[in-house]
């Protein structure tokens, strides 16, 4: 269960302060608490348990979400197979922009995660914030895509193919929205001195979820492109 954590790199000329969770007077806690106490004993990492717990939580949650989309997929396969009213339509071009945004956000959150234990506080915060913005932009881009389709007269009830398009993209967007909330929370955790113990767990779990959302989107895009 124990996760080995790299000791914080000591930047020359900078002294690492012990964590002061109770001081609310500004100033961020150090990137990582000193891994040795005053007597020189190695401290157990209080956040290690949370990391395992949060990450497992993310994986279990993913299993649940997979079932929802598996159900939608099987419904789509069955529905397109049973009757002859399936009419394909061209996906809006902007979806490719959405895809690029999401892929980029996967990169940025990974970047943030890598910085977690390195002590580069500014970088961590910056990359998380960038991911958050990219996630929000993704939703905006999806929204534009829906508008574009609607302008062409393709609505939810026009055809089963469009029904499934709106359904799948909207269900995915709802989950991205959840991810954006989780990211906001992660950003809050990184900022807030009071909860630094679980911040690593939060960021890592959010990263897992975010990568999954990325993968799920690629899957949906392929499904919508090729199953028409």
């Amino acid at each position: 269960m124990s996760t080995t954590l790299a000791p914080p790199p000591v930047v020359e000329g900078e002294k690492i302060e012990p964590p002061r969770p109770d001081t609310g007077g500004g100033g961020f806690p150090p990137a990582w608490p000193p891994d040795h106490d005053d007597d020189g004993h190695r401290r157990p990492d209080p956040g290690a348990e949370a990391v395992v717990r949060y990450k497992l939580g993310a994986w279990v949650g993913i299993a649940g979400i997979v079932m929802v989309f598996a159900a939608f997929t099987s419904a789509m396969v069955v529905r397109s197979g049973i009757s002859g009213d399936w009419a394909p339509f061209d996906l809006p071009r902007i979806l490719w922009l959405s895809t690029a945004l999401l892929l980029a956000s996967s990169y940025t959150i990974e970047k943030a995660k890598r910085l977690l234990s390195s002590g580069a506080e500014d970088g961590l915060r910056r990359w998380l914030a960038v991911t958050l913005v990219l996630g929000a932009l993704f939703i905006v881009s999806q929204w534009i895509g829906w508008r574009a389709l609607a302008d062409k007269g393709v609505y939810l009830a026009s055809n089963p193919s469009s029904s499934f398009f709106y359904l799948l993209t909207a269900a995915h967007a709802a989950h991205i929205l959840g991810g954006v909330l989780a990211l906001s929370y992660a950003v809050f955790r990184v900022w807030s001195p009071a909860v630094w113990v679980t911040r690593r767990a939060t960021v890592e779990a959010t990263a897992i979820y975010w990568h999954f959302m990325d993968g799920l989107w690629v899957y949906l895009l392929l499904l919508l492109t090729f199953w028409r």
Binding site: M1, P46, E49, V52, R53, L56, G57, V60, G61, A63, G64, I65, V66, M67, V68, F69, A70, A71, F72, S74, A75, V78, R79, I82, S83, G84, D85, L156, A157, P160, S163, L167, A171
Partner: protein, 598 residues
């Protein structure tokens, strides 16, 4: 605190001070567990009232029910229930019982309260998520209640909500009852998914030192497997519910086929599949049956061992059986659809798989009897309920052998035989599991015993009562009496077969049994305030960790000192031990050493 060999010290969380954060929006798994149980108690009495109305409508259709006319002026003008009101009652009874009672109390209620303590955890893995689960469930309950009072009344399509009936207002009564029903179910799915996530992570990650998976109490195993079932099943129902909601309100046709004509009106939809709904629904629906019954099995195993003073017979086999039931539960949904026109070949495969699920169920039954065999049985009320559970489980399970064969199902499908089957096994047996659990853990939860005398009276009336209600329903199925008929007269072969007499008998039995539940309610409330005080931390001389903590348990269960576990969950009557039970936190030294001195 009971004697503990060794413990691991962990960080203590401070107890919240304000009333709201302590009792309403509580993060404490124990409070949340009690909230779930309370919700289920409210729901079960509503559900039971509905079943009473159903029975009254069947045998005295012309009789006015007092107050009902004021509550439902449309469905029951002057208190006389209309046939559509009967169908609403039936739908809501099923939904209320299956979701708000059978899914919440065993898992969300008892699981929430007991599981963390039994595995030696301070709380669930994600307390905030836990709170969110409960309050989402509560919202879901409110949405379901809304369905009664909106225009058009509660839905009439049964708890299975088969489209096109559930999808088209023109096929029933125009109104939003069915929409509220779907919203309620969708919320419930979300809540259950969050709950399942929490249970799984908690069981995997937060076990005390030394508590390996094969040392877990069987209750924990069943809650764990139930959580896995919930995680994989509720998402599918959620998806199906979303599709149905879109079909009803936004003009899509996922489930509505082309060319339907209702009242000479052509329905303007294209090529959906009603069978698709059935597949999605039952892919959830069959695991749901095990979600309801598995925790009851766990509680029964636990209590039988405790009061027979014997280890559970074949512990490992019991664990494998639970896992097998859970796994097979996902591949048998087709047996609900034998008569839907599915391919006869797949029907046959589903049938074989269904019969396979009978095997672990039989194994569990025989192991329960094996646990009793050679024991020193103490008949406290939890034990009575557990033995009742075994009997009901056998009776209800064996009728499943009929329904699981498509050949025999040709006759029994959609008759009262099915009603008898699922009420006995997933309804009443699961409820007996809850009665057993409540009487068993009540002293730990509230520091007072439930009144033994009242519990025993309640047990006898209920045990005989439910057999009197559901036993004869098998005979109705032989006639064969179709389910969901608002009137029992009219069908010739039923009149000739004597169905009316059976119905009268069942209604009388139901009235008595339902009245007997007031004894239980009284006992519950009375015991909370006036019950015999439980001064002992381990009044039943049980072995698992919840009996090693003070009564009632403090805010974070172990006061920061998590005991180390040395042994399996059911070390009763160990030879040469100083007493006839060894708690999981007792080291061998503690169990055997003083024996010589005695």
């Amino acid at each position: 605190m009971n004697e503990v060999a060794e413990y691991v010290e962990v960080h203590r969380h401070p107890e919240p001070k304000s009333f709201i954060s302590r009792w309403i929006f509580s993060l404490d798994h124990k409070v949340i567990g009690i909230q779930y149980v309370m919700l289920a108690v409210v729901a079960v009495f509503i559900g039971m009232a509905l079943s009473l109305l159903i029975r009254l409508r069947l045998v005295w259709p012309e009789q006015a029910v007092p107050l009902l006319g004021d509550l439902f002026p449309v469905g029951a003008p002057d208190g006389i229930m209309t046939p559509e009101f009967y169908l609403s009652m039936l739908t809501m009874h099923g939904t209320m019982m299956v979701f708000m009672v059978l899914t919440t109390a065993p898992q969300g209620g008892f699981g929430n309260y007991v599981l963390p303590i039994q595995i030696g955890a301070n709380d669930m893995a994600f307390p905030r998520l836990n709170m969110l689960s409960f309050w989402t469930t509560f919202l879901s309950f409110c949405a379901l209640m809304m369905a009664f009072f909106v225009e058009g009344g509660a839905p009439i399509s049964g708890w299975t909500a088969y489209p096109p009936l559930s999808a088209l207002d023109s096929a029933v009564i125009a109104g939003t009852g069915q929409d509220w029903w779907i919203i309620s179910i969708a919320l419930f799915c979300v809540a259950s998914l969050l709950g399942a996530l929490n249970f799984i992570v908690t069981t995997l990650e937060l076990r005390a030192k030394g508590l390996t998976m094969m040392r877990l109490p069987l209750t924990v195993w069943t809650w764990f497997v139930t959580a896995i079932l919930g995680l994989l099943a509720f998402g599918v129902l959620l998806a199906a519910g979303v599709l149905l909601l879109l079909d009803r309100n936004l003009g899509t046709s996922f489930f509505i086929p082309a060319g339907l004509v209702i009242n000479d009106q052509l329905i303007d939809r294209s090529g959906g599949s009603p069978i698709l709904w059935q597949h999605l629904f039952w892919f959830f629906g069959h695991p749901e049956v095990y979600i309801a019954i598995l925790p009851g099995m766990g509680v029964t195993s636990h209590i039988l061992a405790t009061f027979a003073r014997k280890p559970v017979f074949g512990y490992k086999v019991m664990v494998y059986a639970v896992a097998a039931i859970g796994g097979l539960g996902f591949v048998v949904w087709g047996h609900h659809m034998f008569m839907s026109g599915m391919s006869p070949y797949s029907a046959f495969v589903f049938s074989v798989l269904t019969m396979c699920i009978g095997v672990p169920s039989a194994i569990k039954t025989f192991n329960w009897i094996g646990t009793l065999w050679g024991g020193k049985i103490r008949f406290t009320s939890p034990m009575l309920y557990s033995v009742g559970f075994v009997s009901l489980f056998v009776t209800g399970g064996l009728s499943g052998i009929f329904l699981g064969q498509p050949t025999v199902d040709l006759f029994f499908h959609d008759t009262y035989f099915v009603v008898a089957h699922f009420h006995l096994i997933m309804g009443v047996a699961a409820i007996f599991g809850m009665f057993a659990g409540l009487t068993f853990w009540f002293p730990k939860m509230f520091g007072r015993f439930m009144n033994e005398g009242l519990s025993k009276v309640h047990f006898w009336l209920t045990f005989l009562g439910v057999y009197a209600i559901f036993g004869p329903m098998h005979y109705l199925g032989m006639l064969p009496h179709p389910r969901r008929y608002a009137e029992i007269t009219g069908v010739d072969y039923l009149a000739a077969g004597g169905s009316a007499e059976i119905h009268y008998f069942i209604t009388i039995a139901a009235m008595i049994t339902i009245t007997a539940q007031l004894i239980f309610l009284f006992n519950l409330v009375w015991s909370l305030f006036k019950g015999k005080v439980c001064s002992d931390d381990n009044p039943w001389e049980a072995t698992t960790l919840e009996w090693a903590v003070p009564t009632p348990p403090p805010y974070d269960n172990f006061a920061g000192k998590i005991p180390t576990v040395y042994r399996g969950a059911y070390d009763f009557s160990l030879p040469k031990a100083k007493r006839d039970y060894a708690m999981q936190c007792n080291s061998d030294d503690m169990v055997y050493q003083q024996a010589a001195g005695d």
